[in-house]
Symmetry: C2
Amino acid sequence: MQCGLSPIVGFRFSLHPMTNDFISVIKGVLQETDTSNVWMHTDDVSTVIRGKQVHVFNVAKALTLHAAKTGVHVALSGTFSAGCPGDSAGDAYLDKGDEVANNDLTKQYVSSQFALYPMNNPNYMDVIYREVDRAKERGVFNESMHYASGIHGDIHDVFAFYEETFTRARPEEHKHLVMTVSMSINSPSHGGL
Amino acid sequence: MQCGLSPIVGFRFSLHPMTNDFISVIKGVLQETDTSNVWMHTDDVSTVIRGKQVHVFNVAKALTLHAAKTGVHVALSGTFSAGCPGDSAGDAYLDKGDEVANNDLTKQYVSSQFALYPMNNPNYMDVIYREVDRAKERGVFNESMHYASGIHGDIHDVFAFYEETFTRARPEEHKHLVMTVSMSINSPSHGGL
């Protein structure tokens, strides 16, 4: 039960291209993204990547950006997780350096929603309110809603906010943190910035 | 901060039909499902329904089943939530009776994954392990994996398990419970039962 001390960060997600050609979109995304810095496994419902936090967020963003660039309406749903006492130690490439493998800075508007679940932390509501306030300061806050908060803007700003939040909401004394993210791209429903 | 005592259950979700005609599939699903027992709001990323637990689960299942019956590959991602201290009291039809509005019993194989997050509960890992064991007893357990557990079978058995779990993992002394569910239907990747 010491895995709460592990630096392994994981992201279990599904990327949904709303097109008849969803299989070729997914295959193309996997070809164009450098996933060599994370452990990855896909099953019939979702994909999980594990490794150092910097690489997990870099790969998550790169996969999403490549899918977005097809122009197809794409949705990303997933859960970032770290420090679970039930987690196993393996399946993570912790010996990788800190240099990220994907550096495409193409701008892309994304509309998303997130929720933070700091586990076994009596002050968890304070953590949540603080991070929502920080989204407002960073200019990526969209709107309040039941069970989540709307975060939007350029994909690089949005992922930078999420990665920073994932660090800040995970202090040494409460290491088990879960963060759900839903993202919509190229949607006919977006109001935009 | 007394909302932990509220009987309001919510489900924020996205239903993703992997087809060029995703808009008409979604519109058809909304026409065919009786949502009158829940409060519902849709934005550019997701939809939220709120109300009595029995109706929230009934509507969630009915929406998914109607989407499945189109034969299109469909994915459902969402978060069930109850008892959040930050929740507001409104936007829920708690005066509705207990009779469910959707009764289509068509069989449909679904493959799904779920994770339980009992908030502010020092024994939360015990709650999670107990519910995974119960999935095995009920015959809907598929496989273990990082950050989630695989649950599959007929859609009615799977949703019955999820609703029961959502009740059992939410005792009076720890009312804030979150449960994420990802579901895949009509996928070319399913191995089946």
